[in-house]
């Protein structure tokens, strides 16, 4: 555990050592506001919940998370610090996990700073705060899913712009996998099992119910396993690619 926390601390501090973390958080908060109040019709709906706030998160994360994830490993490889890091007495899994957790913590901080909207909805009405808390948790886990994909893509290239584009594309696929439009497009001869399996991999399938306040353990488990699998993939890609 020792080195995991050392790496976590360094990574998190490095986000705040440059304007990156601040810009990220400010843009995240502004876009969240625009989405919720302008596009989501927060007031017009006349309901004391944060559904418009949460339902935009997959689309917001689609661009915000890859921007954080893209440098995770690509920069280490580009500047050669990966050689330094991996020749220190550090386990690769500690490095992968420490970096991921630091980026995830940054996402958590950004998400937590949206708290005024939670206060607002409590001021205006009488929302179910348990539902909102569950939705926050679900949103954060989904961000973790995006981030884990980004970690793997970032490990695959030295160029962080390529990592960004790859991550956005792949995340987009996972977001729309569960969307009804895509599922209806399957021809009738495709067995239902395949369609279900396809839908089950989609982020929206799991996130929609969480955002509505149905905190099913299986949905959380999906994101946890999803994160774990992509982090294992990250470690494998790093092993393969570090030589060049």
């Amino acid at each position: 555990m020792g080195n995991l926390s050392v790496i976590f601390k360094r990574e998190l501090a490095s986000y705040f050592a440059t304007p990156l973390a601040y810009i990220f958080i400010v843009i995240f908060l502004i876009t969240n506001g625009i989405f919720t109040f302008e596009l989501g019709g927060f007031y017009l709906r006349g309901q004391a919940d944060l559904l418009p706030f949460f339902s935009f998160h997959p689309w917001l994360y689609l661009f915000m998370v890859p921007a954080i994830a893209m440098t995770l490993w690509a920069d280490e490889r580009k500047t050669g610090t990966i050689e330094l890091l991996l020749t220190l007495p550090v386990r690769l899994k500690d490095a992968v996990l420490g970096k991921f957790l630091a980026a995830w913590a940054l996402m958590g901080i950004a998400l937590a700073l949206t708290f005024p909207i939670w206060i607002t909805v409590n001021y205006l009405g009488d929302p179910d705060n348990g539902v909102i808390f569950a939705a926050y948790l679900g949103s954060w886990f989904m961000a973790g899913g995006f981030l884990a994909i980004g970690s793997c893509m970032s490990a695959a290239t030295k160029n962080s712009v390529i990592a960004f584009i790859l991550t956005v594309s792949l995340c987009f696929v996972f977001v729309i996998m569960g969307s009804p439009i895509l599922l209806e497009a399957f021809p009738a001869w495709v067995p239902q099992v395949v369609v279900d399996a396809f839908a089950a991999m989609g982020f929206l399938t799991h996130y929609d119910s969480i955002a509505k306040g149905v905190l099913d353990l299986r949905d959380m488990l999906f994101f946890a396993v999803f994160i774990g699998a992509w982090l294992v993939a990250s470690a494998i890609v790093i092993e393969i690619k570090k030589a060049n």
């Binding site: 790496i7 490095s14 050669g80 050689e83 330094l84 220190l88 007495p89």
Partner: protein, 311 residues
């Protein structure tokens, strides 16, 4: 003790390290030489556990890199080529980070970092971001992280590359002072550096070991070792007489100036005395006569030239 046994590393079509075996014992400062692309950096990356070999093994003090990597890595300090470091950190924060990874906490961490800062003369720039430092300082930061835990094994990939002569001198002295009971492996293509700091030199080319010995031994294996440089005041035919000397291996006459020549000795022989008495007997118009030591450079050329990379 580092033991490298039948080490090979292949990258798809290309063999970077080809069946390399050697041992390095405590107290040795090993100069690791070879032309660019000879496999020096790859070998160092394998020794430090960054890359896994295709075949063969490396053990550091009995810890095999393949099975016991963390213990081996804890014993080693490594300065990778180009001295990479996290540019957005300050020198102090960076060294603290490396110290923490190495397991130091609290007072011990503060002491270690403080000591290494003064040892490598980084105290002035401790609070500066590394990306704002000059090349020489960055190199020293890299060196500082490599030596802060007083490692038994120090592996430095071109530690003086890109430094000015004063900085080079400083780094060399630092290495000499560190070296006493340690194993130091330095890769370089600056040959004077080998004579200056190394107790042993290994030359590799195309991933294979082609020479191994003390710098003096290697110099002695040069064909110019014990050669006599002769400069005549006016043209004289000296070769007939020289050929009669049994220990003379040959004569090289300067193509641009026939008055200049080098008389080569047979291996292990000293010919200066014989040539000098011959010159006196024959009354040669000698302007200058000196005996040459072999140059590492010549040996380097001899053993690395003309090879064809095997696929």
């Amino acid at each position: 003790m580092i033991e490298i046994t039948h080490l090979s590393k292949k990258f798809e079509q290309f063999t970077a390290v080809d069946d390399l075996s050697f041992k390095v014992a405590e107290g040795e400062v090993l100069g690791f030489l070879g032309p660019n692309g000879a496999g020096k950096s790859t070998t160092m990356k394998i020794i430090t556990g960054f890359l896994a070999p295709t075949s063969g093994s490396v053990t550091v003090d009995g810890h095999n890199l393949a099975t016991d990597a963390l213990a081996a890595k804890a014993l080693m300090g490594y300065l990778p080529e180009g001295a990479p470091s996290y540019g957005d950190m300050t020198t102090l924060d960076f060294l603290r980070f490396v110290g923490e990874v190495r397991g130091y906490r609290g007072d011990e961490l503060v002491q270690r970092v403080g000591r290494v800062l003064s040892e490598v003369e980084l105290t002035k720039v401790a609070m500066q971001k590394i990306e704002t430092l000059s090349k020489g300082f960055k190199r020293r930061v890299g060196l500082a992280q490599a030596i802060m835990h007083d490692p038994k094994v120090l592996i430095l990939d071109e530690p003086t590359d890109g430094l000015d002569p004063n900085q080079k001198q400083h780094v060399r002295e630092l290495i000499k002072n560190l070296a006493r009971d340690k194993i130091v492996i330095i890769s370089t293509h600056i040959l004077e550096e080998v004579s200056a700091v190394c107790t042993r030199a290994v030359i590799i080319t195309q991933g294979r070991l082609v020479a191994d010995g003390t710098p003096a031994e290697l110099e002695a294996s040069s064909k110019y070792h014990q050669a006599v440089s002769l400069r005549l005041a006016q043209p004289t035919d000296v070769s007939v007489h020289l050929d009669s000397l049994a220990d003379v291996a040959g004569i090289e006459i300067d193509a641009e100036d026939v008055l200049n020549m080098r008389i080569l000795a047979r291996p292990g022989k000293s010919i200066y005395g014989q040539v000098a008495s011959l010159a006196q007997e024959q009354n040669w118009p000698v302007a200058e006569m000196t005996v040459a030591r072999g140059q590492l450079e010549d040996v380097f050329k001899q053993v690395t030239a003309g090879g064809v990379r095997r696929g």
